[in-house]
Amino acid sequence: MSEILLIIPAYNEAQNIANVIDEIKQDLSYVDILVVNDCSTDDTLQTLMLIKDIVVVSLPVNLGYSGALQTGFKYAVEKDYEIVIQFDGDGQHIASEAEKLLNILKEQDVDIVIGSRFKTKNKYNHSFFRKIGTHFFSGIIKQICKVNITDPTSGFQVLKKSVFEKYAQMNNYPEYPDANLLIEMLLEKYSIAECQVEMRNREFGTSMHSGFIKPIKYMIKMFYAIIFILISKQRTISNY
C-alpha cells in the first residue's frame, strides 16, 4: 500500500475511464487508485470491474461530483493515506503532470497544490463564459485573501492529510468545491500553491459545466456561497 491515493470520481465515463487508468498506472505507478462510481447509467461499473489493482467504490445513488469526491476523502481517511490526488475521469488531466504537483507539495510544504491551466499563457481551449467566470473568481480570491490563484475551478489538486480530513468531515461540503472552498481554507490559514499543468480537451461526453444556463446558475450559486463564507468567517475571526 502506497501513502498516496488518487481519487477519480466517475459519472458515465465508460469511454474514457479505462484509458485514464492505464495512463496513471504507467506514469504514476507508485500511487493507489480509487474510482468512485457515482451511480453511472452506462457501463462504467462493468468497465471498472475488469480492471485489476484498483479500488472501486460504487455509490447506490447519484450524489454528484462533490458527493463522490467526498466519499473518496472518507475512504482515504479510513485507510490512513498521507496525500490525496484529485483527478478527473474524463481524460482531461495528464497523469505525469501530477508529479510536478507532488514535488511542490513536498518542497514548499503547502497544504493544497492546484494544477492550473492559466498560470502561464497557453492555448488551452475554454468557452467564453468559463473564461469570464475563472477570471472573476480568481479576482475575488485575490481581493479577499491576497493570494493569486489563477484557476480556482481546477479539479486537479493534491491535498495533504489535514485538508482532506477536514473535507471528509464537513457535513456541508459544497456542491461545487471551487473558489468558495479555497477561500474558506485560506481564511482558516491553510496554504495553497499553484503549478502550471497541461490539460487536454475532453474527447468523449460532455462537461458538467456545458450549456448556457448552467454556467450562469453556477456563477450565481458560487457568488452566494462566497458571500456566505465571508460573513460566517468574519464572525469567527472577530471572535478570537
Partner: protein, 118 residues
C-alpha cells in the same frame, strides 16, 4: 350561525385528524404541534369571530379579514421554511448514509476476495 357551525366543524375535524395521525404514529408529535395549533385557532375563531375585529382594532388594521389572511400566510410560510430545513437535514443525512454504505460495500468485497484467496 350556520357558517360558524360549519367552520367550527372544520376546525374540529382537523383537530381529530391530526390527533389520529399522531396516535397511529403516522405523524410525529413534534411536527403535529404546529398543525394542532392552527386547527385550534380555526376552531376558536369560528366560535368567537369578534376576536379578529378586536385584534385588528388594537393593531390599527381597518379591514379585519386582512389580519386573518396575514396570519394564515405567516402560518404557511413558517411551515414551509420548517419543511425546507427538515429536507436539508434529511438530504445531508441520506448523503452521509449513501457514502457510508458504499464504503462498507467496498470493504465487504475486499474481505470476500481475501477469503476466496485463502
Amino acid at each position: 350561525m350556520i357558517t360558524r357551525i360549519f367552520f367550527a366543524l372544520i376546525g374540529l375535524l382537523v383537530i381529530f385528524y391530526v390527533y389520529n395521525r399522531v396516535k397511529k404514529n403516522l405523524f410525529s408529535e413534534k411536527e403535529s404541534m404546529f398543525w394542532m395549533l392552527g386547527a385550534v385557532v380555526v376552531f376558536i375563531l369560528s366560535i368567537f369571530p369578534k376576536v379578529i375585529d378586536q385584534f385588528s382594532r388594537i393593531l390599527g388594521i381597518e379591514y379585519p379579514p386582512s389580519l386573518l389572511f396575514l396570519c394564515a400566510m405567516m402560518f404557511i410560510l413558517i411551515l414551509l421554511l420548517r419543511q425546507g430545513q427538515q429536507i436539508s437535514i434529511l438530504t445531508n443525512n441520506v448523503k452521509e448514509l449513501i457514502q457510508r454504505n458504499a464504503l462498507l460495500e467496498q470493504k465487504i468485497m475486499e474481505v470476500c476476495e481475501k477469503n476466496e484467496q485463502d
